[in-house]
Symmetry: C2
Subunit: 148 residues, 2 copies
């Protein structure tokens, strides 16, 4: 019985799941030299893209509980990478923005992540990477509403 892998083990879904886990590890590894986790890098990237984001907004973007965001932003604020300012039109909210150090670090982190991604995808040519990106974009478009 069974020298063939069960169908699930060669399915799109399983390959997608495993590729995601590996990509996550590769991102974290590539960012550790800059003192960032993948998650912290994403916070910097979202805040750069949409300055004045609130912690609630960030919570939805990252798919994390708002209580997690508190510590995440605390840590980045302690390192003077992100700053909080009260929203004058709704003083419950914070408007988050990058400091110049945060802006600088985000750029370097983005370059590191891009190199790591390129290495991870080294089995694919440029056209294949574009094709993969288009397919994933189509699948995820309505699940990540902030995508263009």
């Amino acid at each position: 019985m069974g020298s063939e892998p069960a169908p699930v083990l060669t399915s799109v879904g399983y390959l997608l799941l495993k590729a995601g886990v590996h990509m996550h590890a590769v991102f974290d590894e590539s960012l550790s030299a800059l003192g960032l986790t993948g998650r912290e890098f994403l916070v910097l990237s979202f805040v750069r893209s949409e300055e004045g984001l609130s912690q609630q907004d960030l919570s939805r973007r990252l798919g994390l509980d708002p209580t997690i965001i508190v510590g995440l932003v605390d840590s980045l604020e302690d390192r003077a990478l992100v700053s909080r300012a009260r929203d004058p039109s709704d003083r419950r909210r914070y408007l988050l923005s990058l400091t110049s150090a945060g802006d600088d670090l985000q750029r370097r982190a983005e370059a590191a992540a891009r190199r790591a991604e390129a290495e991870f995808l080294d089995g694919l040519g440029d056209a294949e990477r574009s094709r993969l990106r288009a397919l994933l974009h189509e699948v995820m478009r309505h699940r990540l509403p902030w995508l263009p």
Copy 2:
């Protein structure tokens, strides 16, 4: 500054990571009705594919610490889905196999997972799904050594 998303947020790597996380959640959700986690389903699937697998083998396949496998197999054995037999040629090892109930449940779980996958990929046509599978297989081939 920045009404464009930071490049990382539209990159292949990030889309891959997020698609993996969503696929994971969709698998878990689809299997919960059968009383299985995604991880338990994978154990059943690997054991079916390679009967006589040891717990160490499973540890490598799943990328989990061997101490995690103990509880995982315990739980499946308690439910009479998997059985342990000592390897006569190396009595330190267990040879794992599916019971007939385990075999039956694995089949039903595989059908459920396949339906969930199909729904997750509903933005793609059949040819696009095949293309996605081929691209992911190419990327993951040397990272998942048991793949054909």
